[in-house]
């Protein structure tokens, strides 16, 4: 075991030396400053920047959503909203007919549905309206439907607390939060390596000096439950949802919470965790059939040798689920139905894996 570890270290060291040497030879890595994660983790570095997570926060000039919709308008009661984009700069305006408030869009959250955050007089505001692709237009921001603004300022946007601001930027950007505050000088928009792999920057620096001791914690070593909590820091864990009493249909957005309710989730079996089905370095796969092998890993007809039809908990790794009596493909279509959020502008796959009966109410 120890020899294996030594061998692995040696081969890693050789790899690093090779990468550095290649950099010197071909100019790809001229110094430690330009050494990137991609030098070693090529595949991940190639695919991850193309993901939605990598574009979770968009800055002016990089907002493809608004570039494709140069003028958006919305009327809510007596308030008229306009979002106009010219030369890569977008402006959010609201008018009640007598007065108008305008602000440049500084931070756009999301690549599908999109909400904007503004800074005014040192305070941060979340836009009262958001862009929804399914509506191909604007509507009230999720969570704000219950608000009935009575002033132009209220209708402009909801003031965020410092805790909310750090939570928003903490999830949608990298290196944004330290000491419980947002630091815009160190902020990198979107989710990059360092966001999940804490210590990646230190590792990079150390690697450039040929030191291997600084490897960030291995996320692969986490159990299903730990991964669920890890991803749930942004996608909302079981704990977070219950702590905040986010019960009801709106919580379909919170996949780690929904998954944890599933009968097959036990926190220890790695076949039922976020990363068993999703590679965070790649864009999420939307073809339901592609997930069939994941379901059949437990519910396959050949491995399910049970005659009684019951679960056979031999061990977590060898648990066998009942085979589906209806089909052997398209599992998620039935067992992970799509749920439309109230308001109808967004649809999410319900990660609470279960046998869904027609007419069933939404289980919290």
């Amino acid at each position: 075991m120890r020899n294996g570890s030594v061998r692995l270290r040696k081969s890693c060291r050789s790899l690093v030396v090779a990468v550095l040497f290649q950099g010197v030879l071909f100019g790809a890595v001229s110094s430690s400053r330009s050494l990137t994660c991609g030098a070693c983790h090529t595949a991940q570095a190639r695919s991850q920047p193309e993901t939605s997570m990598a574009h979770a926060l968009l800055l002016p000039g990089a907002n493809s959503v608004l570039a494709a919709h140069p003028k958006l308008t919305f009327q809510h009661g007596s308030y008229s909203y306009t979002v106009e984009t010219r030369n890569g700069q977008s402006t959010y305006s609201i008018s009640d007919g007598a007065r108008t408030i305008s602000a440049p869009i500084q931070w756009a959250f999301g690549t599908g549905a999109q909400t904007w955050v503004f800074e005014r007089d040192g305070r941060f505001y979340e836009s009262y309206v958001s862009f929804y692709p399914l509506a191909n237009g604007l509507d009230i921001t999720i969570g704000d439907q219950g608000m009935e603004p009575t002033t132009l300022e209220q209708a402009f946007g909801r003031e965020l607390t410092n805790t909310e601001t750090t939570a928003c930027f903490g999830c949608h950007a990298t290196g944004a939060v330290s000491d419980y505050r947002v630091h815009f000088d160190s902020l990198k928009p979107g989710v990059t390596c360092e966001h999940c792999h804490t210590g990646a920057a230190t590792h990079l620096e150390a690697i450039s000096h040929g030191k291997l001791e600084s490897v960030p914690p291995k996320l692969k070593a986490l159990s299903a439950e730990q991964i669920s909590n890890f991803c749930g820091q942004c996608h909302r864990s079981f704990e977070e949802v219950l702590r905040n009493h986010w019960l009801g249909q709106m919580n379909v957005r919170f996949q780690p919470y929904r998954l944890a309710n599933s009968k097959c989730f036990n926190g220890a079996d790695s076949r039922i965790s976020c990363v068993a089905c999703h590679d965070p370095h790649k864009e999420v796969v939307t073809d339901g059939a592609s997930y069939d092998p994941k379901c059949l890993a437990c519910h396959g007809t050949t491995s399910a040798s049970s005659t009684s039809g019951h679960l056979q908990p031999v061990s977590n790794l060898h648990r066998v689920g009942k085979p589906c009596p209806v089909a052997t493909s398209g599992c998620v279509n039935c067992h992970m139905p799509k749920v439309k959020l109230p308001g109808g502008h967004q649809e999410f796959t319900d990660h609470y894996i279960r046998v869904v009966h027609p007419g069933d109410s939404y289980p919290d």
């Binding site: 607390t161 410092n162 805790t163 750090t166 000491d179 419980y180 505050r181 159990s223 439950e225 730990q226 909590n229 079981f238 704990e239 219950l242 702590r243 009493h245 019960l247 944890a260 309710n261 036990n266 926190g267 220890a268 977590n316 919290d364």
Partner: protein, 366 residues
């Protein structure tokens, strides 16, 4: 011999009938005196009637209430105890007994009996219920159960209670001082009134005034124990960084404030600063073995730092103190899952879901 027995029987029957007659007469007179608000006479007549018929439960009730109203708490307590021997399910009598015991200084019994009275809240008139709730909160504070006391005060404040005695009582719970308002040392009244006012603003949802009142409180009493903890808990929702500073300041003022230590450890834990959090949590749990939050935070930190079995022990201790505390069950689910006790983890997740639903329903009713 037979004649003698017959005579005795006749005499006994006559005596019983005479007593019965006297009881009827006295009880009617007692009720009339009570209706006429002639309290001393009513008390005397009820006593005479009850001497003849000690199984008259209604008499004990009226005697108990009259004695309580005339500040004769020891006698009132005894009368109500007689009644409860006859009617052990009489909720209001338990409540009134608790109030008598509160006045006689039997605080532990008072709390238990007030709570027994409140358990039958459907039988209580709204005014009586509010009085019992207020005393429950006073006694919870005296017993060091500050969080429960604050919940009860918050309920009263949402219902519109604003009596002056409430303000300093809330201040005591908010600053986590196990005292009754009458025990506040001379010279400290202003501290507790100010803390009470700030907390009442918070409980009423007037956050702007609450913040201002808390700022004033911290400026005027920077070295008073509990002040920075109170301000920290208020700030926690909106500004974690300031809350952390306040908890640290509280621990400077009062290093043995286990609530501040536990909260600081919890915030650090959630920020992933496990090793920094651990000593705060350990100290808080050691100082306050009966404080569920301190036990839970330390237990969770032990789980997160790899001492899962020890963590479970602490979490179980927290559960024993307060089985309805959601965070304990969430942490137990994590802990069991971490060591492959998957069925127990599932059970804890189910309990958590149920508790969260109950809390949500309770919040919706407010």
């Amino acid at each position: 011999m037979y004649l003698k027995a017959l005579c005795a029987c006749v005499l006994l029957t006559a005596s019983v009938l005479a007593d019965e007659g006297a009881f009827q007469r006295l009880s009617a007179q007692a009720n009339a005196a009570r209706d006429a608000n002639n309290v001393p006479q009513a008390i005397a007549l009820y006593r005479q009637a009850l001497a003849l018929n000690p199984r008259w439960d209604q008499g004990w009730w009226y005697l108990g209430t009259l004695l309580y109203d005339s500040d004769q708490y020891t006698d009132g307590r005894d009368a109500l105890r007689h009644l409860l021997e006859l009617q052990p399910n009489a909720g209001p009598a338990w409540g009134l007994l608790g109030l008598c015991e509160f006045e006689t200084g039997e605080n532990d019994k008072a709390l238990a009996d007030v709570e027994r009275g409140l358990a039958a809240s459907s039988e209580l008139q709204p005014g009586m219920e509010a009085v019992l709730r207020f005393h429950e909160a006073l006694l919870l504070t005296r017993a060091g159960q500050f969080d429960r006391a604050i919940q009860t005060y918050a309920m009263l404040i949402r219902r519109g209670s604003r009596s002056p005695e409430l303000v300093s009582a809330v201040g005591l719970a908010a600053l986590r001082r196990p005292m009754l308002p009458k025990e506040i040392p001379p010279g400290q009244t202003d501290l507790f009134l100010s803390a009470g006012k700030a907390s009442i603003f918070t409980m009423s949802g007037d956050l702007e005034h609450a913040q201002q009142a808390l700022n004033d409180l911290a400026a005027r009493f920077p070295d008073a124990s509990g002040v920075h903890y109170l301000r920290g808990t208020f700030l926690l929702v909106a500004d974690t960084a300031q809350a952390v500073d306040e908890f640290k300041e509280e621990l400077r003022v009062n290093p043995s404030n286990s609530a501040a230590g536990a909260m600081l450890a919890w915030v650090l834990l959630r920020a992933g600063e496990l090793q920094t959090a651990l000593p705060y949590a350990e100290k808080a749990a050691t100082l306050a073995p009966d404080y569920a939050i301190a036990q839970f935070v330390y237990g969770r930190l032990l789980v997160e730092t790899g001492s899962v079995e020890r963590g479970i022990e602490r979490l179980r201790a927290a559960e024993t103190i307060d089985a309805t505390f959601l965070e304990t069950h969430l942490s137990l689910a994590t802990a069991y899952s971490r060591i492959g006790r998957t069925e127990e983890a599932r059970r804890e997740r189910e309990i958590s879901l149920e508790l969260s639903r109950k809390e949500a329903s309770s919040l919706a009713q407010r």
